[in-house]
Symmetry: C2
Subunit: 689 residues, 2 copies
């Protein structure tokens, strides 16, 4: 019994736990584990104190503790016992450690719970600006000994198992997954009535559920899968649910690509082909099972050890994965079939992992802002930010979040695939041979660049040798941003996006190319043709970045601000993009460059957080309900922002912070006609529309 609130009586020893600082008086003979449980100290135990699991290891400290006001005698704990000796013989107990279930309190004692013995371990994240993840998965293992059947007290084996588990876990009620009814009896007998159960407790309530059973004591580990189901790439992380560690990662192309490169072409495929949506559902589920195979092989585990799975994805992938026709997402009002988080039988999703696994899908924020954006929100936690953060996840659609502790807004903006190298004359996916970095000398207008697969710049000695196998094949998304921004800074492109002629720019790298000019970035060689940037390429990027910026600007309007404190670039693209160049183009709002950071695959990280911490599921569900959703398509100011944002960086917003560190010349190459005039005309019509 806990004496926590009784006055010190000079009789029962005082037990102090660190690092929690929790303390209480306990009768002599109380096991340390019992004391910890009664004080609510975070000390792990799978076997409930039977000396089987060794999860409850603790480190006693002896001597004077003026800070705690106690002196700990050498005999403050009972002697090392047989169970501990056996464990030490077989597995080796770290010096100074004891098993909390075996060591009994005999006097005042200070006990440290090392991180590995805590249930709610901290999983450290590398980036300074984000919080660590507290390990608290939906699954827990519990080892119990089940009463044997007795003719005089007839009850099912299951009912006696549940009774034992209720006692061990404190759950009031427990269900069992139907698939376990068959193996239950042989399994209990194989384990001689000792059994380890994996119990799934949904964060949203409901009866805890036995989802897996092992005969005898099963040490684990068990694993969970966090998946970012992208339109192009499916990326999965396999996590050890006892440590939070990522033990294997794998990625593959989304097999739906054969039905259409981008989302809208897949929606069209479903509209044009009866049963087309189901073909795509089948394809993505098959892809996921390939990923599961890969990742299990990588980690050298059996797929049946994967007992949890969390998914993030955009709304179209969400529907296709669930087996829902995405038809409604292709047209206003972009109605989602379901927007809330879902917890479904993994088998209903065709996933070949442990039967009984419940798959969790993060909520969608809106018809164009999916569970992937919710994953970003969970990872980046704008709702916990003191300063106002703009978070953009750049892909075919850009999902944009703006917020701080006072509230979060979200929208998506149809950037199109230009940022991924599509619609660009020399564009290509990020792959060896692609130009990814560019510098242009503002005086000579001569470029140098780096290519994926080489550490050298193109004007470094030995560069040619490093690219001998890949060649130089095109420009990837980040390369396109850089080259256009560099052209803008070198005065080769004006603010309206027109490339100057050779005469206007003073370099013959600019050359007439039809009715506009192009810039030759690389001259080519006998094997490969030259790589140029055409005015059409610049138009494509202008459209994309204007869409992105306008979305951000709309959220800023709604929030009533002209600036943001910081910008976070999420997504694989965001990880490679140069913040300076992005800002020169006016992709993102004006901000100090050191306040523009990359979050990597934040959506995938969000999935991982939801996998490792059940409370995070409730948090993101609550946050998504609170987020104010803006539908850009119907916002009257969107068009105005779009037109302003077509200029580089912007025809209305001044970008003073950027201009204080970057020189932006201001030529005008408009000769009053040609393609630009037409474009301008179109844009003016739009404005009136």
């Amino acid at each position: 019994m806990s004496h926590e609130n009784t006055p010190e009586n000079g009789k029962d020893p005082l037990v102090i736990f660190t690092p929690s600082g929790r303390r209480g008086h306990f009768p002599v003979g109380t096991p340390v584990l019992t004391a910890a449980r009664q004080l609510g100290v975070d000390l792990d135990s799978v076997c409930g104190g039977r000396g089987v699991c060794s999860k409850c290891q603790i480190t006693p400290s002896y001597g004077e503790f003026p800070k705690h006001g106690v002196t700990v005698a050498e005999d403050a704990l009972s002697d090392w016992n047989k169970v501990e000796q056996r464990y030490d013989d077989i597995r080796g107990l770290t010096k100074g450690r004891r098993l909390g279930c075996q060591a009994k309190v005999q006097g005042n004692i200070v006990i440290d719970v090392p991180p590995e013995s805590q249930v709610h371990k901290q999983v450290v994240r590398k980036r300074a600006e984000v919080r660590d993840i507290t390990l608290n998965p939906t699954l827990h293992l519990s080892y119990v000994e089940v009463e044997e059947p007795d003719m005089h007290k007839p009850s099912g084996d299951l009912e006696r198992l549940i009774a034992a588990l209720k006692l061990a876990t404190g759950h009031d009620a427990l269900e069992i997954d139907t698939h376990l009814l068959r193996p239950l009896q042989p399994l209990l007998r194989k384990g001689e009535w000792k059994v380890t159960a994996a119990i799934h407790t949904a964060h949203s309530g409901g009866t805890p559920r036995i989802v897996a059973l092992w005969p005898g004591y099963f040490e684990g580990p068990i694993f969970g899968l966090a998946v970012d189901l992208g339109s192009t790439t499916i990326a999965g992380h396999l996590c050890n649910l006892s440590t939070g560690e990522v033990v294997a990662s794998s990625g593959l192309m989304n097999p739906q690509i054969r039905f259409g490169e981008d989302l809208m072409s897949r929606v069209s495929y479903a509209m044009m082909n009866a049963g087309g949506d189901l073909e795509m559902t089948e394809a993505v589920r098959a892809g996921l099972n390939d990923l599961v195979d890969d990742i299990a092989k990588d980690a050298e585990i059996d797929k049946s050890q994967i007992l949890d799975a969390v998914f993030v994805m955009n709304p179209v992938m969400h529907h296709l994965f669930l087996g829902i026709d995405p038809f409604e997402l292709g047209q206003a009002p972009f109605a989602l079939a379901t927007s809330d988080a879902l917890e479904l039988a993994a088998s209903d999703l065709g996933l070949d992992i442990a039967p009984g696994t419940r798959a969790y899908i993060l909520p969608c924020i809106a018809g164009h802002v999916g569970a992937d954006a919710a994953g970003v929100a969970l990872s980046e936690a704008p709702n916990k930010s003191d300063d106002l953060a703009l978070i953009v996840d750049v892909g075919t659609n850009a999902e944009i979040l703006l917020g701080d502790k006072n509230g979060v807004l979200a929208c998506s903006s149809p950037t199109g695939p230009a940022f991924e190298g599509a619609q660009i004359s020399s564009g290509q996916r990020a792959a060896p041979g692609a130009i990814e970095r560019v510098e242009i000398d503002p005086i000579t207008k001569e470029p140098r660049f780096r290519v994926i697969g080489s550490e050298l710049w193109s004007d470094d000695e030995g560069f040619d040798a490093t690219i001998a196998t890949t060649g130089i094949t095109g420009i990837c998304g980040s390369g396109i941003i850089e080259v256009i921004a560099e052209m803008r800074m070198a005065g080769l492109v004006d603010a309206s996006g027109l490339i100057g002629s050779s005469e206007q720019t003073g370099t013959d790298r600019c050359f007439a190319d039809g009715r506009t000019n192009s810039y030759r970035l690389w001259d080519g060689n006998e094997d490969q043709k030259a790589i140029t940037v055409t005015n059409g390429d610049i138009r494509a990027i202008q459209m994309a970045k204007a869409a992105l910026y306008s979305g951000a600007r709309l959220l800023m309007d709604k929030r009533g601000v002209e600036d943001v404190d910081r910008v976070v670039l999420a997504g694989a693209f965001g990880a490679h993009i140069s913040s300076k160049h992005a800002m020169v183009l006016g992709m993102i709002p004006d901000a100090p460059l050191d306040k523009v950071t990359s979050a990597g695959n934040a959506a995938g990280t969000g999935a991982r957080i939801a996998l490792l911490n059940r409370d995070a599921r409730g948090e993101i569900e609550a946050l998504v309900r609170q987020i104010e959703k803006i539908e850009t398509a119907v916002e009257p100011r969107f068009q105005e922002h779009f037109v302003n944002a077509s200029a580089m960086p912007n025809s209305s917003d001044p970008f003073p912070t950027l201009r204080s560190v970057v020189d932006l010349p201001d030529p005008s190459f408009n000769t009053g006609g040609g393609e630009d005039g037409t474009e301008g005309g179109r844009r003016r019509r739009r404005r009136r529309g």
Copy 2:
């Protein structure tokens, strides 16, 4: 607002509902449905008062009501309105009826709720001694209008559906079955945002669940299936869940019969053949789907309208149906894999009915006393009986319940298949041509009998013609009971079960047949051989009836009684058996003959009750937990009772009530040797065992 507890103020009209007698004051203009809901009056409504479903029909009464102390004026309700007019035009409203949601209170009024408008209708049962069933299924229909999607307030169609249903039903939370995610969007649009949902609310708690959806207003009916899954026969009743009516019944042979006639031979089959249990699982599930096909065809409904299913069965069938190897049930301690009631996805049981259906399986009482016995207990409700009832369900195993309001005991007893005509030389299943009734003249020792398929006795004129097609093929279970009991009463068999010789009995119908005598019941003809009763037949019945009686006697011992007040014979066999003849054999304890009644297929009725009334599920679960289970195999007194019960009626219990109405001669045909001596010897050895 309800004014139920406010004093009569002379302003708000008084509304009195019959038959409930509930009353309250309501402001002028209150719809009758609203008043009923606020008073907790049982008035149905699927559409929530939109004038769509017409379930809330009521009958207003006018004039003087001295009993209620009110006078009802002609204008006490608002005038017949357009909605009512339209309904009357299309469907016809019974004269004097109004729609409760349309008619508004204008003055004091007396309103009768006719039975069809009550949610909790009474489903009348024919037998006087049992209670009617109150209709209260797990499924309810709710018609709602769903908010259309709005870009400015993005939420999924599902979330808006759930919001509408929560409002209409008052449920705090609602889930949806996964299979509905796909059809949801087209269905909502087809119904123009009007939809009817079938909501399943488990009696055991948990979140109510949308299991089916129809576009627009779906009037029903929806159906449920109550199944008694016997070792030999599968019997199903299809019930209309709105009326409680049985709309179709069907039965078929359990296809598992090809793996073994009786349960233990099926357990053996599973033990001897790897995967044998799964073969049997597949067979019984296929049989169930055949039953579903038959019954749906019979009722002219679509299988997808079957939205609930309840099952009762013995433990071996229970396990085989669930896909559990019955191995453990074949040996002590007869451990059930699971004994509690189960609610499972019907699809997990391979049932081809409406997807999303939850199948309910009644709890098993013990390793030999299954969910079928629980069904009998639910139907016959010994726990609610004022007098002490003995309920026996006779089959290959007899399940026996003894109890009253003070408590219920249960056991099973291995009667073997003799009562079903097996192990009997001329035995056969109950089918046309089988002798089912027998009388033997105590003077002449001449028999007469009736045959299934003919209304005439064998000595009636024209008998031969009526049996011309079937012939006389054997003796069924009830016939065996009768002929042996008649032989006993006619002095042809002594109390120990020996048939007398021709000399001893004075009739040449008794004839030497090996080492014992037989009795010729029918002489045969050119086509069919004679039908005789051998001493072996009598031994088989003696063993069976001794097992049955000993089980009952054990329960009486436990209860500390020498007599029971009444005996209920359940099961198909129980329906055909003559209570007098059963008692002459000593199958059942001594009791007044009019206190021995037949309950028919009480197990199946129990399934039907659990189907129609969700609370009954909780009741039987509670009762099964309270029932005291006796394992006959390990009860020391079982052998003693068995030996005593081998005599007809009994060598220890005097059967005074029986003897007061039936003459039981007391010859002894034991000549000290032969087969009987051997048998006696064996029995004496048993007694010592």
